[in-house]
């Protein structure tokens, strides 16, 4: 009897919380951004990838059921320097002829509390796949969901910058990836 009333209460709560009823599944790439930060001779610099495709569904109340897959066109890199932009698609850096796309596929998304979440998944760049963990925040702005997060990776783990560029005293090994995604709900 007592157990039953608990279940009823729980059911009532679930029905009565419309905030968690929405699933965001359409990322507006034009409003979203992927920025990378790195240090060159200890000078902090940033660049962006302008072309990417995101397939995702995320319900803040059910993070365990959420999934995200991001495909980044690596040749869309903008380092802010035209010489460097010409260098990036080359074999020593991304080798985009052979590996045109960088990819993140989530394996587990969990809530950390207070609007904070964590996405674990596999990041593939230049044919190398490694586990990454990206903490992010979620907030709602009107009908849109805003996701902001960042994580760090080591470029040499993915053989990005080989040969003479493997010298991490000049271009640092650590790269930060900062993302800002805007998503809405498909009607």
């Amino acid at each position: 009897m007592r157990a039953l009333s608990h279940y009823l209460l729980l059911a009532l709560l679930l029905v009565a919380s419309p905030v968690h009823a929405q699933e965001f599944n359409e990322v507006q790439t034009a409003k979203s951004s992927i920025v990378f930060g790195y240090r060159q001779m200890n000078v902090p610099l940033t660049g962006t990838f302008s072309k990417f495709v995101i397939q995702a569904h995320f319900d803040p109340g059910k993070p365990a059921a959420a999934q995200v897959r991001i495909d980044i066109d690596l040749s869309s890199i903008d380092t802010g320097n035209s010489d460097a932009d010409e260098e990036m698609p080359g074999k020593l850096w991304f080798n985009t002829q052979q590996f045109p796309t960088g990819q993140f596929v989530s394996s587990n998304i969990k809530a950390l509390g207070g609007g904070r979440y964590e996405a674990q998944g596999k990041l593939t760049i230049k044919g190398k796949t490694l586990d990454v963990t990206a903490p992010f925040t979620f907030r709602q702005e009107g009908a849109n969901a805003i996701f902001d997060g960042s994580f760090k990776l080591k470029r040499l783990d993915y053989a990005v910058g080989e040969g003479l560029w493997a010298d991490i005293a000049t271009v640092a090994n650590e790269v930060s990836i900062t993302f800002h995604f805007v998503a809405s709900s498909k009607k």
Partner: protein, 182 residues
Amino acid sequence: MATPHRYTTSAIALHWMVAALIFCAFPLGLYMSDLKLSPLKLQLVSYHKWLGVTIFLLVLVRLVWRATHTPPALPASIAAWQQRAAHALHHLLYVLMLGIPGSGWLMSSAKGVPVVYLGLLKLPDLVGKNKALGNVLETLHASLNYTLLALVLLHIAAALKHQFVDRDDTLSRMLPFLERKP
């Protein structure tokens, strides 16, 4: 009023330090700008910027020295117009020694690669990132440098003329060991 017959030791040290640094920074800038992108180029560009900041700071110290000291008088045998020309040239050299690193700093900001002095201290960006402005400043930086090159050659030629043609004690004011015994 008796003016000293030579620059103070600190003024002499500052003059020759700045001269030596300019003689490093100028050819380095010329060499690195033609290099293909490589880690070496990135290193040299940073070293060039550090040299520029150092020159800028030392020139500020030289201005403080100037403001607090009377430079030794030029020999009275030098014609008044030549004395005026010498002063004008010195003024121009100071303007360029500040303006060249300044234009390099502006150019770094406009090109979106801030100056981090000695890899430790990030200088504030003077202007926002702007590719067109960056290219204009690059041209300005180079033009100012070629102007400096011309003026430094004139400066050296004048010093040598006074030492070996006029045989007056102009150069010994900056190189006391050259002073002729009366």
